[in-house]
């Protein structure tokens, strides 16, 4: 269970999260939606302790990670896998070394096993035979998928996906959606996904949370969200220019 309690976060004068509260259930796929620049990535980084809130608490299985020292935080982080919005691959390492990185760090595996797991994870994101390429030789979508393979390499309990399907073609999008669903099912993992792709969101999510104005303004099942009478949600789902969400 992930619990965010009264989270405030500002960057200089820019208030991004404003007393945000959210409970994310274990073993489900929760999708966070919200406008671009609204603070979704910032929210995700709070869950894994990359950003510390100015005020508030982040509980992972009842442990407040905002108060932990480095060592205890690392223990908790071993439960996590994370895909960054821009993939954040190590550009001095090959694709194989990237995916193998968490394995080498935390799993006692032989070289043979590592190669096997890397190939298997890459295959699951639709990539084969690119182990020896450098990240700079890949397309944006390929980089994202390598990042995905790296995020799930250690079979984490909690996986955070920052826009896993943005920039992928429709077929690949569907494949990645399926991968997220499978990951959740096979590992009984908790998945937190940020996405702008409404079709995918309603297909894969168990719960949807809408971030607006620094807080979660609506949280529920896809059906509940679809039926919501909140004008912000209605406007967001219909993609209309008219409504409470101002373009500028």
């Amino acid at each position: 269970m992930i619990e965010l309690i009264d989270i405030h976060k500002s960057f200089k004068k820019n208030k991004v999260l404003n007393g945000l509260n959210l409970k994310i259930d274990s073993g489900l796929i929760t999708v966070i939606i919200g406008r671009s620049g609204g603070g979704k990535s910032v929210l995700l980084k709070h869950i894994i302790g990359l950003l510390k809130p100015d005020r508030g608490r982040v509980l992972i299985d009842d442990t407040d990670i905002t108060r932990l020292n480095d060592r205890d935080l690392n223990t908790i982080r071993k439960k996590f896998g994370m895909l960054f919005q821009e993939a954040a691959l190590f550009d001095s390492m090959t694709v194989k070394e990237n995916v193998a990185f968490p394995l080498r760090e935390h799993a006692k595996m032989s070289e043979v096993e590592i190669s096997r797991v890397v190939a298997e994870k890459l295959k699951s994101v639709g990539l084969t035979g690119i182990e020896d390429k450098m990240p700079s030789e890949l397309s944006g979508g390929m980089r994202k998928r390598v990042g995905l393979a790296r995020a799930i390499a250690l079979q984490p309990e909690i996986v955070l996906f920052d826009e896993p399907t943005t920039g992928l073609d429709p077929v690949m999008t569907e494949a990645i959606n399926q991968l997220i669903v499978d990951t959740q099912k096979n590992l009984n993992a908790t998945c937190v996904v940020i996405s702008h792709d409404l079709e995918s969101i309603f297909k894969i999510s168990h719960k949807i949370a809408m971030l607006y104005d620094g807080d979660i303004i609506e949280y529920g099942t896809p059906d509940e969200i679809r039926a919501s009478k909140n004008p912000v949600i209605e406007q967001f789902l219909s993609g209309s220019i008219e409504g409470p969400i101002k373009i500028i």
Partner: protein, 259 residues
């Protein structure tokens, strides 16, 4: 009056900023020490950095060392000729190189080559979230990125300095003996009687300290980069300037302590 006050104010601020920055770098140093002795040692990362700092700097170090020795011989010759003491040229070159110019010039060259690259590399990793990715995978960035670079800096700078010292003396010998026709036996004998092994050792201690300074500052600037490509450029420039200044300042104090 007013303008003078502004200038003094500005100077005070700059000094304060410098001191504050040194404090933060000292803290980073403590954290490097802590992680350095925390197994496992990432030896492959250390060797990679040693190769980068050492091997790839040899050419510039050979060149600067040789020409520095040569020009010292030339200048020394004109000076000593006034007292007909041309034979002293060899010992002046050797003393100057081992105590001072070898370590300082080598460090400045390596700062420009490797210190700047450290800042640029870590800076790019910071702005593309690669450092965050390390943290997320429960891999400590200080241990993975900074410890190997600092170890490489401290170990390789003395070695490069030996090369520089040697090339400087060789260059001085070439100019003194072959171009200015100082007797070769006297040239060498003067070196061996006047220059102590201690001169060499102390120079190497300096070099190790400078290696620490340039790698630590390069990493610090890169690690704390903010804001895109522009930020990386800024971090790189600042790393070179701050390292060079700090090397020259600490050179004075090291000299005062050791000699």
């Amino acid at each position: 009056m007013n303008r003078a006050a502004v200038a003094i104010d500005q100077l005070g601020r700059t000094v304060l900023e410098y001191v504050e920055e040194m404090g933060k770098i000292a803290l980073l140093f403590l954290s490097v020490l802590r992680w350095m002795f925390q197994p496992p040692l990432k030896s492959h990362l250390i060797f990679k950095q040693m190769e980068f700092v050492g091997n790839k700097s040899i050419f510039v170090v050979v060149l600067t060392g040789a020409f520095t020795g040569m020009v010292m011989a030339l200048q020394g010759y004109y000076g000593f000729k006034m007292f007909s003491a041309e034979s002293m040229v060899g010992s002046v070159v050797a003393l100057g190189m081992t105590r001072e110019l070898g370590p300082v010039l080598t460090s400045l060259m390596v700062t420009a080559r490797a210190g700047s690259a450290m800042a640029a590399e870590l800076g790019t990793m910071r702005v593309t979230e690669q450092i965050d990715a390390l943290s997320v995978m429960a891999a400590n960035p200080v241990k993975h990125l900074i410890v190997p670079r600092v170890i490489a800096g401290v170990l390789m700078l003395p070695l490069l300095t030996v090369v520089s010292d040697f090339m400087g003396i060789l260059g001085g010998y070439f100019v003194g003996v072959h171009l200015l026709h100082i007797n070769s036996g006297i040239f060498v004998k003067n070196i061996t009687t006047i220059v102590d092994l201690d001169d060499l050792y102390n120079g190497l201690v300096k070099a190790a300290v400078f290696g620490l300074i340039l790698s630590l500052i390069g990493c610090y600037k890169g690690f704390n980069t903010r804001g895109g490509a522009e930020g990386v450029g800024k971090a790189t420039t600042e790393a070179v300037v701050l390292s060079s200044i700090t090397i020259l300042i600490s050179d004075y104090f090291l000299t005062a302590i050791m000699f």
